[in-house]
Each structure stands twice: as structure tokens, then as C-alpha cells.
């Protein structure tokens, strides 16, 4: 609803954008009628809601194509990218954060810590540009950009996925590392870890068997947040790597003032965030038996 209100006051008009430069006011008015823009805003909104209830995301003003399949195609692309990036981030962050915590007073821990600080400070698109310069342009190992659906050509899909997933994953990984570190540091101070050591477990096995699951709870929270924000946040990396993702779709929609499209994308985002929150809650329960009985 917020989006609807907002787009209504945006200067610019989808009909005018579609008709371009020298359109007469009559032509614009006619096209507005075709788009259904001449109706009052509440009517448009109710109309859209009605479609939504029927599982119909509506038709784009501009492309005249059904929006549903478009949005889900793009969402799928972005999800693949973001999940791959998250996987890289996790693979990096869990060991690195754990080592940083376990050795936080030693050189190796401090060095890793400094490295992660630098990682956090680098904008993801800059990381992407650097990766392209080195691995695509200079070395020629991987394609610089582009996107191939996995079903079409799995090998190419993977080759094209590596660099964008890396550039997103490295930066997210650096952020995540800091949360892993702080979660593990908390766990290291827990009594049960001392109990585990008293049983005869050595420090790392003790942390592994007893610490990780407990440290996972705050990390999962951050992971969920990152996942949700990255659905659009990945747009800059999508731009650098020419990936047709959800963020690019949203930007195009806004620039064409394609109200329905923007509304749908935001809708999908809201659902995604709710879904991610739900998944995170499920994970909490899976991770922490204390939450299962419903009592705290």
C-alpha cells in the first residue's frame, strides 16, 4: 500500500515514458486509459489486490506481458546467486570466525580479524570489478559476465556463477565472520564448554561438538537478515555481472514507472522476508530444543 501511495506521487508517468518524447497529451491520456491509470488509486489498488487473491500478479503496463512468470524467473536467478554467495560466505565465515574467536589473543586470530575488517570495508561491486579484472580479463579463466539458466547449459551456468557469487560471498562472508566470531566467543565463555573440556575433550573438538550448534543461533539470525536484504541488495553485483535478477527488474520497473510491476516485486520481497523469518524460526527450533516445548 505504501508503495502504491508512493508511486502515485512520483513524477513521471508510465504512459508518457512508453510514448517517449513528442507524445501529445491526448495520446498519453489515451494510453493511460488503456493502462487503467485513469481510474482512482483505491480502485487500482483493489483491482490489484483482487488479482493477487486469484494468484494473478497482473500485467505490466509497459511490456504487456504477465508479470508473475517474469518476477519468479528473476527471483529464481537472484535466489541462486544469493544462496551460492551465502554458501561461500558460510564456508569462509564459520572456520575463519571460529579460529578468530578461539585464537583471539594470538597473531593468527588478530590477523584474520584485521582481514575480515578490510573485507567488510570493500564495497561488493568493487570486489566484483577487481575479480573480473583479474580472473576474466587478465587471466581469461572465467567469463566476465552473463547468465545461463542451469537447465540450458550447466557447465556454462557454473562458470558464470563463480565470480558474482564470489564477489558477493567474500563481502558477506567478511560480515558474517564477525558475527561468527562474536557468537563463538560467547559460547567459549559458557559453562557447558568447560564441562565438555572437563570431560576430556580437547578445545577444538569441544567447540565443534558443543559450541557450534549453540553459536549457530545468532548466526542464523544474521544469515536470515542478509538473505532478505540481498534479494534487492544484490542488484549492484547483478549490474556489474549483467545478471537478470530481481533487483534489476525492480530498477527497470521504477524507471518505467511500471507501478504494477514494482508493487509485485515489493510484494514478493515482503513474502520472502516473512518466509525467511519463518525459516529462521524453524531453524531456531531445530537448533535449540529449549524452544520446542513453547516455554522459554
Amino acid at each position: 500500500m505504501l508503495v502504491f501511495g508512493f508511486l502515485a506521487v512520483l513524477p513521471g508517468d508510465p504512459a508518457r515514458v512508453a510514448l517517449g518524447v513528442n507524445a501529445s497529451d491526448e495520446a498519453v491520456a489515451e494510453l493511460r486509459r488503456q493502462f487503467g491509470l485513469d481510474r482512482s488509486l483505491p480502485v487500482q489498488y483493489v483491482d490489484w489486490l483482487g488479482g493477487l487473491l486469484r494468484g494473478d500478479l497482473g500485467t505490466s503496463y509497459v511490456s504487456k506481458a504477465a508479470i508473475g512468470p517474469q518476477v519468479f524467473d528473476r527471483l529464481q536467478v537472484t535466489l541462486i546467486l544469493v544462496v551460492a554467495a551465502m554458501a561461500i560466505a558460510l564456508v569462509l565465515a564459520v572456520p575463519a570466525g571460529t579460529v578468530m574467536a578461539a585464537r583471539h589473543r594470538r597473531l593468527s586470530g588478530v590477523a584474520l580479524s584485521a582481514l575480515s575488517q578490510v573485507g567488510v570495508a570493500v564495497p561488493a561491486f568493487l570486489a566484483g570489478i577487481l575479480l573480473i579484472m583479474v580472473f576474466a580479463v587478465k587471466l581469461g579463466w572465467l567469463p566476465a559476465n552473463g547468465w545461463t539458466p542451469p537447465a540450458q547449459d550447466p557447465a556454462m551456468f557454473l562458470r558464470q556463477l563463480v565470480l558474482p557469487a564470489l564477489s558477493l560471498g567474500l563481502v558477506q562472508g567478511a560480515v558474517l565472520t564477525r558475527y561468527v566470531r562474536s557468537a563463538v566467543l560467547d559460547v567459549l565463555r559458557e559453562d557447558y564448554l568447560r564441562t565438555a573440556r572437563a570431560k576430556g575433550l580437547r578445545p577444538f573438538p569441544a567447540l565443534w561438538r558443543h559450541g557450534l550448534r549453540n553459536a549457530a543461533v545468532p548466526v542464523v539470525t544474521v544469515l536470515g537478515l542478509q538473505l532478505a536484504t540481498l534479494l534487492i541488495g544484490a542488484v549492484v553485483v547483478e549490474r556489474v555481472f549483467v545478471i537478470p535478477g530481481l533487483g534489476s527488474l525492480l530498477l527497470d520497473g521504477v524507471s518505467q514507472r511500471d507501478l504494477i510491476l514494482v508493487q509485485d516485486v515489493v510484494m514478493v520481497l515482503v513474502v520472502a522476508v516473512l518466509l525467511v523469518n519463518f525459516l529462521v524460526d524453524l531453524l531456531y527450533v531445530a537448533l535449540d530444543p529449549r524452544l520446542r516445548t513453547g516455554t522459554r
Partner: protein
């Protein structure tokens, strides 16, 4: 003004889209598919169309991809700008220059397997008036009647003589549709051209397949992919790493060095129809004084500006006429760079010290050049306040529709658009009856009258300083070395794919 045919102007649809071209589609050059070898080609383009329907959506991106490739018109322009046959084998004009009779090819077929006949032509011409919504449709207003004399003969009667009409028939307005093939123009274009529309991966690419039932000479490549890039660096990288074979529009001219210094690539540099205007809002009191307008033109060092914001690529022009138009003359001398003169003109007009709002669209060249313009005008004693407006939506509404601006920078890429740009109803708010008379005479007159009057019109605009012309966008193409058939100059609104081949 009404009589002047060029009603429409296309704007650079997104970042510096330099209207691209080649001469007409079809049969002209180089060989058919070679045995074996690489049968597919990828082109990198700048602006992805929002829809494939140019009858209801404006912008250069759709005709660039489809016209001449998927759709064909009755007549087309050749490389020198001359109007030559396409779906019409030949045509005659009546002595009163109001009736055109076209003899059509008899073996053309639409991709929905329906043959192309005069009935389709009549349908297409009438449909412009009834179903098109873009402003370009006004070019058909002059048509009184179109009728099929036989399946291969078409007669079009105009209400008055118009040179512009036949010229417009070479553009998208002249595209021939099938009577039974217009139900899903936005997603499934159906035409008679050498390529068939195959697939559109939104946000990424459009794929065209060779039309093996094409009536003319079949093109070289079996499959052509048009890939769209928003980011110029990504576009360059795609060529460098072999993802694409051609950059059809170099957006970042500074980055050209990495290709000019590389054996693997060829760089083509020519001209376009894209005049980059520093437009004035002539309805503002400050611009009513011709001395202010002249002062601004003379305060700008165009050579330095071109060097700075477009790496010196492009051509300096003095009016709204590109070098490929028959009535072109070099008018860069009308308002030479002269800071002292500019200052004194500003003093005389009383505009010195005035603050002007330079409202720029968010396009790279506009942003770049705007900063140079600001710096140069401030040396002449003006104050310039730069405002950025999101392009296209915000800019179209604010500057173009409401004329809420003092100056702006934008490239007008439509061919022969001087009449439409400098009109009292357009955002330039330029009201000049003398110019309108010259244009009307040019449209109605014979070839010589057209030439003379257009030349006068161009000179008048320059002398009146109706705006400043910063430069003409270059046609900058980078491609694999062995690729042939790329256009030197981009003077039409399509990018001709049928002539491309590998040597």
C-alpha cells in the same frame, strides 16, 4: 509546421544510445552462409526495449533490433541516405506529387507463413492511424487513402505533396505487418525480414533466427543474439572475454584504447544523427534575448568539451543537421569560441550574473558534459546550477512535458528532426515563423527546393542560436577483426544484421 513531416523525435532511450544503422535491409551484400564455421553471433547493445511493440512504445531500442531484420518496409535508405527499393520493387510518383504507386515483390512471406500482399500494406498503413499510439504516427496524417490495385500493386494518395512522407516510410512507420499477425506485437513480432524473432530473455537478450524462407538474399549468420548491457564496463568486458563479438555502441569512449591497441579488434568510427543539444528554454525571459543565447554558444569551447567529456570522439556541428543529410553544411564557424565576446554579449543583454538551472537527465554523457558546460559558462560570468533528473521518467515529465528548466543536455537521435525539435510546442519552446515557412516549403517543394530550404533552415537555427549543439554523437563500433558488413555511419534507426558476415 503541420506540413513538416518530421513529427517525431526519438530520444536516446538510455545511456548514450547512438542511433545505429546501416543501410537498408536485405539483399545487398556479401555471401550466404559459409559451409561450416561459426554460425552464430552475439551483439552487445545498450538499451533493452521494455516491449517489442514499437507501435505503442517509443524509444530507439525496438526498431534498432527489429526493423529491417524482422520487419521490412516498402522502401529503405541505402548507405548514402538515398531511398531505394525494399518490399516495393519500384514505385512511381504522379506529376502532382500526391499519388504514389508501388510494385511489390511477389515472393515475400511473413514468418506466420502468410504471403505478403498489397492488402497487408494497406492494412499496415491504415493501422498507423488507428492503432498506433506513439507520436510518430503523425507522419501518416498526410495519407488520404491507401488501396490495393492488385495483390502486388499498392497506391497511396496524399492530401498534399510531401517529401517527408516517403522518407518516413523508410522508418518504423513504414514497417509492414501481417493482417493476421498483430495480436501479440509486444511479445511476438511477425514480419517478412531476413531474421525471425526467436526468444526474448527479459533483462538479458533477444535471440533472432535466420529466416530460411526469406525472399531475398539469405543472411550469413544462422543465429544472432542481441545482448543488453546497462553497464558500459560490463559491455567492454564481455567483448574482451569473448562473450559477445560486437559492441554496437561504445558508451565509454575513454575505454576505447584497450581495443585500438589490440590486434583482435576493429574499431569503426563514423557519424550518426544524434545531435547532442545544450537546449535552451526559449520561453524564459533570459533566453528571449538572442545575445544571451549567442553568448552561451560562444562561451563554450566545443573542442575542449568534446575532448573532455567524449574523449574527442564525435564531430563538432554548428546546427541541427548531421553531415549525412544532403543539405549539410559546416556551420561551426557561426558561433566560434570567444570568451571576451561572450562576456560582452552577456553584459549587453543584462544576463551576466544570472543563475541558470541546467537540468540534466541521468545519462552518462549528459552528466559529463554538464559539468564542463557549467565550468565554461561560469567563466563567462553566468551562474549554473546543476540538477539531475532521473531519466527517462522524471526528465520527460519535468523538462520535456512541463518545460520546467532553463537549459538541458540531451541527444536527439531521430533523423531529420530539426523541425520537430525547434517548435513552439516542444520543450525548446522555440517560436520562429520564418523557420516554419522554410520547413513547409522544403516539404512541399521538389528536390532542389527541398535542398535549398532545408539548408536555409539549418543556417537560420544556427544564427538565431536556438540552442547550442555540443557535438554529434559518433558511431563507435568495436568488433572482432574478421567481421564484415558493419555500418560506417549510423543514419537509420535500425541495426542491419543481414549484411554481417565473417571474412
Amino acid at each position: 509546421m503541420k506540413s513538416y513531416t518530421t513529427r517525431a523525435v526519438a530520444f536516446v532511450a538510455s545511456a548514450a544510445l547512438l542511433a545505429l544503422t546501416a543501410c537498408s535491409a536485405g539483399s545487398s551484400t556479401s555471401g550466404g552462409p559459409s559451409a561450416g564455421g561459426d554460425q552464430s553471433l552475439s551483439l552487445g547493445l545498450v538499451a533493452e526495449p521494455a516491449s517489442l511493440d514499437f507501435t505503442t512504445t517509443d524509444g530507439a531500442a525496438i526498431p534498432q533490433a527489429l526493423l529491417g531484420n524482422v520487419y521490412e518496409s516498402l522502401v529503405k535508405q541505402d548507405e548514402s541516405g538515398k531511398i531505394v527499393p525494399a518490399l516495393a520493387k519500384s514505385w512511381t510518383v504522379s506529376p502532382d506529387r500526391k499519388t504514389y504507386t508501388f510494385d511489390l515483390v511477389d515472393n515475400a512471406k511473413f514468418s506466420n507463413d502468410k504471403p505478403f500482399t498489397a492488402a497487408d500494406a494497406v492494412f499496415s498503413i491504415n493501422r498507423v492511424k488507428t492503432a498506433w499510439t506513439t507520436s510518430l504516427k503523425a507522419a501518416m496524417d498526410v495519407v488520404q487513402e491507401a488501396k490495393a490495385l492488385s495483390p502486388t500493386q499498392l497506391q497511396v494518395t496524399l492530401t498534399k505533396p510531401s517529401n517527408g512522407w516517403l522518407f518516413r516510410m523508410t522508418t518504423r512507420i513504414g514497417a509492414m505487418f501481417s493482417e493476421t499477425g498483430v495480436s501479440a506485437l509486444a511479445t511476438e513480432p511477425i514480419g517478412t525480414g531476413p531474421y525471425k524473432f526467436s526468444k526474448w530473455n527479459r533483462g538479458d537478450s533477444i535471440v533472432l533466427q535466420r529466416n530460411d524462407a526469406y525472399w531475398g538474399t539469405k543472411p550469413y549468420f544462422q543465429q544472432i543474439t542481441l545482448k543488453y548491457f546497462k553497464d558500459p564496463t560490463a559491455l567492454n568486458n564481455a567483448l574482451l572475454t569473448g562473450t559477445i563479438n560486437v559492441i554496437t555502441t561504445v558508451q565509454a569512449p575513454e575505454a576505447l584504447t584497450q581495443f585500438t591497441s589490440n590486434e583482435k579488434y576493429q574499431v569503426i568510427e563514423g557519424t550518426t544523427n544524434g545531435e547532442v543539444l545544450l537546449s535552451f528554454n526559449n520561453s524564459k525571459p533570459v533566453f528571449r534575448d538572442i545575445r544571451t543565447r549567442q553568448a552561451i554558444r560562444q562561451a563554450i569551447d566545443h573542442k575542449a568539451l568534446l575532448d573532455t567529456c567524449f574523449a574527442g570522439r564525435g564531430k563538432l556541428i554548428g546546427s541541427m543537421v548531421p553531415p549525412t543529410d544532403p543539405w549539410y553544411e559546416d556551420l561551426t564557424g557561426v558561433a566560434p569560441y570567444d570568451l571576451a565576446k561572450a562576456k560582452s554579449l552577456l553584459q549587453a543583454s543584462g544576463a551576466a550574473g544570472a543563475t541558470l538551472r541546467l537540468r540534466l537527465p541521468t545519462l552518462p554523457y549528459a552528466t559529463s558534459c554538464g559539468q564542463v558546460v557549467k565550468s565554461q559558462l561560469e567563466q563567462a560570468g553566468l551562474k549554473v546550477q546543476i540538477d539531475q533528473l532521473e531519466f527517462p521518467a522524471a526528465w520527460l515529465t519535468t523538462v520535456l512535458k512541463n518545460a520546467d528548466y532553463d537549459m538541458s543536455i540531451i541527444a536527439h537521435v531521430e533523423p531529420r528532426d530539426l523541425g520537430s525539435v525547434f517548435s513552439p510546442t516542444y520543450y525548446t519552446r522555440y517560436n520562429d515563423p520564418e523557420l516554419q515557412q522554410l520547413l513547409a516549403a522544403a516539404d512541399a517543394g521538389d528536390e532542389k527546393a527541398q535542398l535549398d530550404n532545408m539548408r536555409k533552415a539549418g543556417r537560420r537555427l544556427s544564427e538565431q542560436a536556438a540552442s547550442d549543439w555540443l557535438f554529434l554523437l559518433p558511431n563507435l563500433i568495436v568488433a572482432d577483426k574478421n567481421l564484415t558488413g558493419l555500418p560506417q555511419n549510423a543514419i537509420t534507426e535500425n541495426f542491419d544484421l543481414s549484411r554481417l558476415a565473417r571474412s
